[in-house]
Symmetry: C2
């Protein structure tokens, strides 16, 4: 009879009827004797509407104010869920991120959780209440206690981090997909749902574009070893369990194809090839909170090198303004950018140590007439940067080449 942490996404809370459906699901689990902590996102399109409202008033609304504004979406959902539970005769209480004990750094719109002291959550559970926590939000750790948000998909992080802090048995993420697939089913109709996947594999799938779950949430789950179930809010289907143990039979296999259509590339040409140059380039980007993804460095001429990195398209302008300043300081000659790129990856634990996966990937793309712009690899992933309008063809070809439509 442990603590179960659930999280429901915005599409499962889009109107009063859907909120009542979720309330019934919560009650069913509560009546099995579980202590229930439920993290909610903002209803339906609320976050987007709030962003639109902000842009009516300012072209560049300040991050601190955006956080205060956007946090109201989750607050509204949390109280409505409590009202639905009350109407069904169940005691419940809504808590803000701050009341649930979530303290963060001061990086508004992308805050990181620094600590969770869920004293109040425990106290309310001890009173027999269902605790509904507004997702996505926290408070800064200083005396100001300003509201912060954890970035898009941050409610997933709220849920997994709370599960860890509460010593929860599992964290269940309910969303509008039925689980993690071998590829995006909108591109590959034959894509199969995976019953289980490791944290690392999920991280690679999430960070390279499988829009199922926020990757920070998976990281937190991995660090604290909290099993995470990703499943549909609408159907009673089994979902995908993300956990630490990987079966032998699933080791050294490609588990899925991830893709990302939102890739921009920046190349700094003719950088003096000397120690400290990479730091000189990437430190200012970090300070500007630009998330750099793939980095590739190649010698071009003697004592000179070309350095290329990718960012999301929304960060490109900021990245360029930072990098132009840096280029002058370090004496680089030219900056080139391209924002019409995409990314396709094959993912699977232990895959890299097994021979043949990389070459099969490159051969498949070549046979499909797709040019590879950049290559990067990790322990469990091989990624190719290709032209944006060839990404879908690449995903289809790779799904077939690695026989992912065949049951494991």
């Amino acid at each position: 009879m442990g603590i179960i942490v659930q999280k429901y996404g915005g599409s499962s809370l889009a109107d009063a009827g859907k909120i009542k459906n979720v309330a019934r699901r919560i009650v069913a689990r509560k009546e099995q004797g579980n202590e229930m902590v439920v993290v909610v996102s903002a209803m339906g399109k609320t976050t987007d509407q709030l962003i639109d409202l902000a842009h009516e008033l300012s072209d560049a609304p300040e991050d601190r104010e955006m956080d205060v504004l956007m946090s109201t979406g989750e607050t509204v959902s949390s109280t409505l869920m409590v009202m639905a539970l009350h109407a069904m005769g169940h005691d419940a209480i809504s808590l803000s991120g701050g009341q649930a004990g979530i303290r963060t750094d001061k990086v508004h719109r992308k805050a990181r959780i620094l600590s969770i002291k869920p004293k109040r959550v425990h106290a309310e559970l001890d009173r027999g209440r269902v605790v509904i926590v507004a997702g996505f939000q926290g408070l800064t750790q200083d005396a100001d206690a300003d509201i912060t948000t954890l970035g898009r998909g941050g409610s997933d992080t709220t849920a997994v981090a709370l599960a860890a802090a509460l010593g929860g048995e599992t964290c269940e993420i309910y969303t509008d997909v039925e689980g993690v697939y071998t590829a995006d089913p909108r591109i590959v109709p034959e894509a199969r749902k995976l019953d289980e996947i490791s944290y690392d594999e999920m991280l690679e799938l999430a960070s390279v574009g499988a829009k199922v779950m926020h990757s920070r949430a998976v990281e937190v789950g991995g660090v604290y070893n909290i099993p995470i179930l990703v499943a549909s809010s609408f159907k009673e289907a089994s979902g995908t369990l993300i956990h630490g143990g990987v079966s032998v039979e699933q080791f050294k296999k490609v588990r899925g194809i991830a893709h990302d259509l939102d890739v921009a590339k920046v190349t700094v040409r003719h950088v003096p090839d000397q120690p400290g140059i990479a730091a000189a380039i990437f430190e200012p980007l970090t300070e500007a909170h630009v998330s750099v993804d793939t980095i590739v460095q190649n010698a071009s001429e003697e004592k000179l090198t070309d350095l290329t990195f990718t960012v999301s398209r929304t960060d490109l302008r900021k990245a360029l303004s930072v990098i132009e300043k840096t280029a002058k300081e370090i004496g680089a000659r030219q900056i080139v950018s391209d924002e019409k790129l995409g990314k396709v990856s094959i993912v699977g634990t232990g895959m890299q140590s097994a021979p043949g996966y990389a070459s099969r990937m490159f051969r498949t793309l070549s046979d499909a007439g797709i040019n590879i712009d950049m290559i990067s690899t990790s322990e469990i992933r091989i990624t190719c940067i290709v032209e944006e309008d060839r990404v879908r063809d690449a995903v289809k070809a790779l799904h077939k080449a690695f026989a992912l439509d065949t049951p494991e």
Copy 2:
């Protein structure tokens, strides 16, 4: 060069264009060298929409959750106002009621302010910022720090209480009317705007139904002697100044006619006429947070008395359920209620000590064929309870009889 506290109502913040207009007004005062603290209500009909949403989920949503829900309306306005000011090149910051230091009791939906420690407000003013405070909301004083709201019109109270706590020079309440009138202009087209009025007169006018301002805000203004300007958010008109000094020429005059269409009456018949009976009846009502307005007690038979009181129509059901229990305990024989009543009052400082006002009021109503159900008087007010559908006629007749259409 003092601190000016302003408050803008929901109709002046109904859309992005209106918010920008208000931002321009704030900037104009700031550029005169004032330190600006601005309290905002929820945009337009937001509060009503949130209430509707709650009622889709529960017939009787819990007060604590309603407070969390409704407070989001003012939070949204506060951040949008800051964004508008930023876009105009002015530094500003939004603060929640709690961040502005407002602590309240735990009576959700009707919380009273217990203390204000506006340390953060001073700190932000010292940084040269305009401080935008979300009105209507506070935090409980205990460790829970739960969100409370101050009741309808509570943003007025936020503004006046903040002005008092900050040592502000004036508090300016901007609303959709141009000031305080001798009567409701929708009923009496000849009604005149008053240039000034005392706290007490305003209290009587507000509490008996002139919907200009929340009466608790006026009380706070009176206690701390903060001059309150009530004026239009849309026009550059002079408004009405509510303050402590009353000119001699305005003493002993009827200043205005107030009315209220929302009156319900409860009569407890044949109450044993003995000490402690009134307390036995009204203490449970107070505990149930029913606001009792006019109280009249009349002997009916020997050792028995009839006790009548009025409440707002929304409180009638709650009042009856409380009073039925009490009636049994004290041995009262019958409870009668009537919810189709209204109230009309003449208001003016020193009026009661001058002869003739009461009789002129009764004669005027009699001549208009309006029956008086109950009478109550205060130092500066005479009130008659009449049938709801005769209230408008009563206001018109009294406005004429006391020559309120003639300039002072």
